[in-house]
């Protein structure tokens, strides 16, 4: 319940969990990339820093084409 110290602090921006290292998450904030919309290339779809860079470039090229 509310006073469970083991309860996770969940990611503020989405309910579902995004699997990405802290460094990739920080980079996403820095570049204004929404991780929930990034396809991860790592194991199980883990998002790498490279994926974030790619997403940022695709966004810059034409956000509506980003998938």
């Amino acid at each position: 319940p509310a006073e469970d110290p083991a309860a996770p602090s969940t990611n503020g921006e989405s309910g579902g969990r995004v699997f990405a290292a802290p460094s990739a998450r920080r980079l996403a904030r820095e570049l204004g990339v929404d991780l929930a919309a990034v396809d991860g290339s790592g194991p199980g779809g883990r998002i790498t820093e490279m994926d974030v860079h790619t997403a940022a470039e695709t966004d810059a090229d034409g956000p509506e084409e980003a998938e």
Partner: protein, 474 residues
């Protein structure tokens, strides 16, 4: 001596020098911001002076005595005696070294330290009343403020703290002698840690708890290990009893409890420790004057940048609510400072670990199997019982287990529950695994030193994959 009012200005005003506040102040000063840290009582706050540190010091010291006392079967014969005044003096030295260290680190980083109580005057001004008569006050204008005023023990109206018979954790951590008997009201982590300390020091300890198990925020098989061990140290448990009244008697107290169907019981003890929760400290700081809102329980709600409802005022640590843990406060303090400095920081961690320094310790991080199901995962679970760990056997300490929870689909590690010696340390690796988005396979492929308890983390992960070596796979 300064009398009257001085007005100064600062980029960042931090109110309260506990773990949340001093970390915010040091981190902000690292960005060359002008930082003023106001503390009314003692650098290091509750944690260093009356919480984490003194409690862990007493845990360690009573452990040394206890282990030696119980080591006959290992060929060690000792009959240790505890001198509580000496132990408390040593503990005070530890606290002194750390609080002096915090003060030095603040100064070394260029933080302006101000002793006194800070109260908001308006959205950009606070008034600091210096302690002691005729010490005057000063007015500080700030660009940003960080509220880090912490928490205090909840007092039961029927058992108000007097520091003599009815103790808070703070009083219990400063005792000069071991009470013959101690009644602990509340089997949360603070109650359980101190029950263990005093049982090992030689008190007859009784724990009463309103709910039906100790450490009710943990799974039943986790608390079972700790409760059994506490019983073996002589701790007597009474569940489903709520403290309702007390009276003084010759050399002690009688505490009256009410159970189900209003059954009334009486418990005699030399002293009673009430540890039933902590409440935010906001009455010292006049949040209303700055327009900062609190929730129904009096905590200050914040967003993932540690901001309150007022954009340039942040709040960190216990005053913001659960989890009321020092490391959560420190992380929030860091984030507040970084956000103020214009960095892309956020409280985006996936998991905050928590530890209970009982015997054995409990360390948890992330999701339990149940929580994982509720979050929509289809979890797979692996366990290694400690009796299968060579290192646990050589520690003569084999009650407990390591459990890893992962997502069955992709193998992502979601959580761990560890009951073992040094569980508080072992949990760190799983915390990193969760933050990194590591899979079970990643944990299993990482070579772990033999013989260590950390091998049990690897083997619990292997067990979840059906390929553990040192336990049969289900």
């Amino acid at each position: 001596m300064v009398v009257g009012d001085i007005a100064t200005g600062t980029d960042v005003l931090v109110i309260g020098a506990g773990p949340g506040g001093y970390v915010a102040a040091i981190r902000a000063a690292q960005f060359d911001l002008d930082v003023t840290l106001v503390e009314k009582e003692a650098y290091g706050g509750t944690c260093l002076n009356h919480g984490c540190i003194p409690s862990k010091a007493l845990v360690s010291a009573t452990d040394v005595a206890h282990e030696a006392r119980e080591a006959e079967h290992m060929g060690v014969h000792a009959d240790p005696a505890i001198d509580m005044a000496g132990m408390t003096a040593w503990k005070d030295e530890v606290v002194d070294q750390l609080t002096t260290g915090v003060e030095r680190l603040c100064k070394g980083t260029g933080v302006n330290l101000v002793e006194g109580t800070a109260e908001f005057a308006d959205e950009n001004t606070a008034r600091v009343a210096h302690g002691g008569e005729g010490q005057g006050s000063e007015s500080i204008e700030f660009e940003h403020a960080v509220v880090a005023t912490g928490s205090r023990p909840v007092e039961l109206p029927a058992l108000p703290f007097d520091g003599e018979r009815i103790l808070s954790s703070r009083h219990a951590l400063a005792l000069e002698s071991v009470p013959d008997s101690l009644l602990v009201v509340g089997a949360g982590y603070i109650g359980m840690e101190l029950a263990t300390v005093f049982a090992k020091a030689g008190s007859d300890v009784t724990v009463v708890e309103a709910l039906d198990q100790a450490l009710p925020m943990y799974e039943a098989d986790v608390t079972r290990v700790v409760t059994q061990r506490a019983k073996s140290h002589g701790v007597d448990f009474h569940f489903e009893e709520a403290a309702a009244d007390w009276e003084e008697r010759e050399g002690g107290v009688t505490v009256v409890t009410e159970g189900e169907d209003s059954t009334v019981s009486e418990h005699d003890a030399t002293k009673a420790l009430v540890a039933v929760g902590r409440e935010p400290v906001t009455d010292t700081v006049d949040l209303g004057a700055a327009g900062v809102e609190t929730d129904a329980d009096g905590f200050v709600p914040t967003d993932d940048r540690a901001r309150t409802n007022v954009d340039h005022i942040f709040a960190v640590g216990d005053v913001t609510g659960e989890p009321m843990l020092a490391h959560e406060g420190m992380k929030a303090g860091e984030v507040a400072a970084e956000v103020i400095a214009g960095k892309p920081a956020a409280l985006d961690q996936q998991a905050v670990p928590a530890a209970v320094f009982t015997d054995p310790e409990i360390g948890t991080v992330g999701l339990t199997e149940r929580e994982a199901e509720e979050a929509g995962f289809s979890p797979v679970v692996g366990e290694l019982p400690l009796r299968a760990s060579g290192r646990a056997l050589t520690h003569d300490d084999t009650d407990g287990f390591v459990r890893i929870v992962a997502d069955a689909a992709d193998g992502f590690v979601l959580g761990a529950q560890i009951v073992s010696p040094d569980a508080s340390e072992l949990i760190a690796e799983v915390g990193l695994a969760i933050e990194m988005g590591a899979t079970l396979e990643d944990l299993v492929a990482t070579v772990h030193t033999h013989p260590t308890l950390s091998e049990a983390v690897m083997e619990a992960a292997a067990n979840a994959m059906g390929q553990a070596i040192h336990t049969l796979n289900r």
